[in-house]
């Protein structure tokens, strides 16, 4: 307990760890990923190519990554949190310098063999680094505003870089995610209120910084009928697809809106719409329940954990997962503006899937090492 850096219990062997891995989340992830592959198969008009096969292969890779991440000792994650964060920031800067354009934004980093979206990994890095920061921050210091300056910068830097890409959705999600970790760490209500009002005051400034297409998306969200054939078209067609699915859906491969291309970006951001068109309300609720189980697993792990780092890490990652699911589904239903957030594990996209799997790997790592009693809090960095 008094050791400078120690765990309450001796480290278990690798094989033992593998045997102790939870099967439930892995099964849930497999089921959700299979649904994703099925929808990609449907999106291609009943074809494994070009999306479903590649997504499944990548899922296999991501599953291996998940297991590797899960068995790595939590202490290492604590130790290397800043390093991971630094790599994340560096790759965001690289994107800014040499990134590839796609879909109107500079998001990808071309590494030759693979193209990565550093902003996806940044969400994990932010959670890691905040968990570490608050893990070492003593309770009484949380009350002092100047101790919050460092974590605010830790959130602000990647958010600003991602906003420059420009990717408003991901930037907003990182800010909200950071806020959630602040809240979990014990920051007081009134500070959120103060920051919130500051944020509101900053809206006009932020608005002027937004790209024209981002402004249009927000205006369209406020009034989708403003421009039914332009920016509002996606939302209108998405609602038609959802609504026409009815209770039981049109059946697998039978979604008229999706298959006749009325539905935009059906293999990525609007894949939930396609799913709910083909499988109806029952399918939609079923999928949301699967997501809810995965989120609940993360919360369960966080609550069971006996160290602050693991708690914040598991809860933060689970919240991040929740945010993605909520924003994506809310967006395709017309509850939220179209901000280009994929549906985790279902939408086509290797980086996002890998990031989600690594995130769950970390949650499982927390669970595997839940009883380790990490060094005394208040150590400082």
């Amino acid at each position: 307990m008094a050791r400078r850096s120690g765990f309450g219990r001796a480290e278990a062997g690798l094989l033992e760890k593998l045997l102790r891995l939870d099967l439930l989340p892995i099964i849930l992830l497999l089921v959700v990923a299979s649904i994703g592959a099925m929808m990609l198969y449907s999106a291609a008009g009943g074809n494994m190519d070009p999306w479903a096969r590649r997504q499944l292969i990548r899922f296999g890779v991501a599953l291996v990554a998940l297991i590797v991440v899960a068995v790595i000792d939590l202490r290492h994650w604590l130790r290397y949190a800043y390093a991971v964060y630094a790599i994340g920031i560096a790759s965001l800067v690289l994107v800014e310098l040499i990134g590839t354009f796609g879909g109107g934004a500079q998001r990808w980093l071309d590494l030759g063999v693979i193209r990565l979206q550093p902003s996806e990994f940044m969400k994990i890095a932010v959670v890691l680094v905040l968990a570490r920061y608050f893990h070492y921050l003593e309770q009484d210091k949380i009350g002092r505003p100047h101790h919050l300056l460092v974590p605010l910068l830790l959130i602000g830097a990647p958010a600003a870089l991602i906003l420059r890409q420009p990717d408003l959705g991901t930037a907003m999600l990182i800010i909200i995610l950071g806020g959630a970790i602040f809240w979990l760490a014990g920051v007081r209500w009134w500070k959120f209120a103060a920051l919130g009002s500051l944020g509101l005051a900053a809206i006009p400034v932020a608005w002027s910084q937004l790209q024209a297409y981002q402004q249009r998306r927000i205006l369209t969200f406020i009034n989708p009928d403003r421009d039914p054939l332009g920016a509002g078209y996606h939302i209108s067609q998405s609602k038609i697809a959802l609504g026409s699915g009815g209770v039981s859906g049109k059946g697998f491969l039978q979604g008229t809106q999706s298959h006749l291309n009325f539905l935009p970006e059906k293999q990525t951001d609007f894949i939930f719409t396609m799913f709910a068109e083909e499988f109806g309300l029952l399918g939609g609720i079923g999928l949301m329940l699967l997501f809810a189980c995965l989120i609940a697993y993360g919360i369960f792990v966080a609550v069971r954990c006996r160290n602050q780092f693991g708690r914040l890490l598991a809860m933060g990652l689970s919240t991040s997962f929740f945010l993605y699911v909520f924003v994506n589904i809310g967006m395709v239903m017309g509850l939220l503006p179209v901000v280009g957030v994929p549906l985790p594990l279902i939408s086509y996209g290797g980086t996002a899937q890998l990031a989600v799997m690594i995130g769950f790997g970390l949650i499982m790592s927390v669970h595997l090492h839940r009883d380790q009693y990490v060094i005394h809090p208040g150590r400082g960095v």
Partner: protein, 642 residues
């Protein structure tokens, strides 16, 4: 320290619970939204999805045919070939256009327009680049098909008028739909659709048009057809049978020749119009194809007004043909009786004006019979002076002048029968005595159409029955798909044929009510008309038919268009052929036949054609002879069906 972490854990757990609760609520909101969209609003969105998915394309119905009473095709449909160009099937639209231009004769302006059309459409939508191709052009395109990527040939219907100009004024024509024609009926907006623009084609447009069919096509978001889901066949337009006899109609047109005028032949009992010819005429096929600007300029600029149906829309002074009405009015009103005679010295004086008879020396003493036969103007001046305009007008209107008969062709004119009240109201002046005299010989304000003159004659000939002309023998019928050609010598009314459904036959045939004229007086007028032709002194003696049982009776009319000055009278009145066309007299003739058992009435008006006896009566003679011959042939037919 342990305690400290326990505090943190408790605080964390509390806050995590609140966060999880919030997440659960937000998921609940998503579920609620999903329920709203997929259950509460499902019907609306299902409809919208179907509207997205299904594109209804109309199928144009086949237009109903128009035939004459014997089934001769007057307006039919022909297959027409169109050239379509589909941009996505050729690598270079310009090359394809350049290759096809010499075959179908496209000029640069047209090519530019086609390029614009193609630019406006999605590249898989075929664009029509030429219509109404000849067989040679179709063959040429087929032969050169390998060099014409993207070109396809499409078969559609085109309206076709086999009789060309012979019944053009009655049939009218079809033409492209203009912006002013749009009623919201989507059929009108289908490419290449034609609507009735004039004549029967216009007045019976709805009936002839038929009902559009539709194809329900599944289309994707870019509009490309994925498959056909359903199809409702179009319902072809209903056919229409005219009472016309094209043989007579053609002969009338031929006899009018280059002149400007009209011929009307009608059945005096049933009112069926057998001929309603107007000359000069036009080719309605050109309208269906799209008239060129120069053709339109030629038609609309012609002083002989080829576009006007002069049989119903040409208003002419009746001239001496009006004397029939004046004579009947005189008899009916008791002003004269058939034996009453007047002396004609060649003129009649009224106040200080002198009214001339057409015969300079006068006719001497003439009775009614001779007055009609020789068309003595002075006799009718005397009569008109005693009758006054209002009593003449009353009889004229009973005989059918001064009104429209609603013949179902747009453009019918009412003519004009003046009265004292009319002049006061419209011109604002008092009626003067001289105008009675002028009206008595059918000049002055009086205006009549050839159709009205035929009706007047028919009413005199049928014993004073209020027969009303009609042109439509049957409308809204479905005739057999193939109509065998009628035997030209012994034609059978199509409505009597066994292969025509009974319900095709419309009413008609009801006995027209009597107009209340004394039959003896009508007989006296008819005797005068007989003498016109039978007597060597009659004005139309030279136009007698001369075949037993096929003779006609009639009345000539010559309408002076210009004013003849006293100076000209003193020297020599200029002959018609010495005058420019617009100053020549109108030639008129009305008649009926056969004399003994009248069946048909005829009227002929030749605008600026010269004298009634020299220009109009010979035309009437020829047309009436054929009318009577065809009537005999029909009556003699032993195997008449139906």
């Amino acid at each position: 320290m342990q305690q400290n972490d326990n505090d943190r854990q408790i605080r964390f757990t509390r806050r995590a619970a609140i966060l999880a609760g919030g997440q659960a609520m937000l998921f609940g909101a998503l579920t609620g939204r999903l329920y709203y969209l997929q259950v509460l609003e499902a019907d609306r969105y299902k409809l919208l999805a179907e509207e997205n998915r299904i594109n209804v394309r109309l199928i144009q119905p086949r237009r109903g045919r128009i035939v004459d009473r014997f089934g001769v095709q007057l307006a039919d449909n022909q297959q027409s070939y169109r050239v379509l160009l589909t941009a996505e099937q050729t690598s270079n639209v310009d090359d394809t256009l350049a290759a096809i231009a010499p075959i179908i004769g496209l000029d640069f302006a047209t090519i530019d327009q086609i390029r614009d059309d193609i630019g406006r459409q999605r590249n898989f939508v075929p664009v029509a680049i030429a219509e109404f191709l000849s067989w040679e052009e179709v063959a040429q395109i087929e032969v050169n098909a390998p060099d014409l990527p993207g070109i396809s040939i499409d078969v559609g219907d085109r309206r076709f008028y086999p009789q060309v100009s012979e019944a053009a004024h009655i049939l009218g024509y079809v033409a492209r739909v203009g912006p002013e024609d749009l009623t919201g009926d989507p059929l009108l907006e289908t490419p290449g659709f034609r609507i009735g623009r004039a004549g029967i084609e216009r007045s019976y447009d709805e009936s002839l048009r038929g009902r559009a069919g539709s194809r329900q096509l599944e289309v994707n978001a870019s509009g490309r057809v994925v498959r056909e889901i359903g199809r409702t066949e179009s319902e072809k337009g209903r056919d229409l049978v005219l009472s016309l006899d094209m043989a007579l109609q053609s002969l009338a047109g031929e006899k009018l020749g280059e002149e400007s005028g009209a011929v009307v032949v009608m059945d005096i009992h049933s009112g069926e119009v057998l001929t309603l010819a107007s000359a000069p005429s036009f080719d309605p096929n050109k309208f269906a194809e799209g008239l060129s600007t120069s053709d339109w300029a030629a038609l609309s600029g012609d002083e002989r007004a080829p576009m006007r149906n002069k049989a119903i829309a040409g208003e002419f002074s009746p001239g001496s043909t009006f004397k029939l009405a004046v004579a009947l009015a005189g008899l009916e009103e008791g002003v004269i009786h058939p034996d009453t005679s007047f002396v004609c010295p060649g003129y009649k004086e009224l106040g200080n004006r002198r009214f001339h008879c057409w015969r300079r020396g006068g006719h001497g003493r003439v009775d009614l019979n001779q007055a009609i036969a020789q068309s003595c103007d002075v006799y009718f001046y005397e009569l008109a002076e005693r009758l006054g305009i209002d009593r003449m007008a009353e009889t004229a209107e009973r005989l059918g002048l001064g009104r429209e008969f609603d013949l179902d062709i747009p453009g019918e004119r009412p003519g004009l029968v003046p009265t004292r009240a009319w002049k006061r109201a419209v011109i604002g002046e008092r009626w003067v005595g001289g105008e009675d005299l002028v009206s008595g010989i059918g000049q002055g304000f009086l205006l009549t159409t050839p159709l009205q003159l035929a009706v007047m004659t028919a009413r005199v000939a049928n014993g004073g029955k209020a027969v009303v002309p009609r042109l439509i023998a049957a409308a809204d019928v479905h005739l057999p798909e193939r109509l065998p050609d009628a035997d030209p010598r012994t034609p059978i009314d199509i409505l009597n044929r066994s292969d025509v459904p009974r319900d095709a036959i419309s009413g008609g045939g009801a006995q027209a009510p009597s107009l209340g004229f004394d039959p003896r007086y009508l007989a006296a007028v008819r005797r005068g008309m007989e003498t016109v032709i039978a007597s060597p002194r009659g004005t139309a003696y030279r136009s007698r038919i001369g075949v037993p049982d096929m003779e006609m009776a009639g009345k000539t009319g010559t309408v002076q268009v210009r004013r003849i000055t006293q100076a000209e009278r003193d020297t020599r009145v200029l002959r018609n052929d010495e005058l420019p066309w617009r100053l020549r007299d109108h030639a008129l003739f009305v008649g009926y036949g056969p004399v003994d058992n009248p069946k048909y009435a005829i009227s002929v008006v030749i605008e600026h054609g010269g004298g009634g006896s020299t220009a109009a009566a010979p035309v009437a003679r020829d047309v009436m002879e054929l009318t009577l011959r065809r009537d005999q042939a029909r009556s003699a037919d032993p195997v008449r069906e139906g």
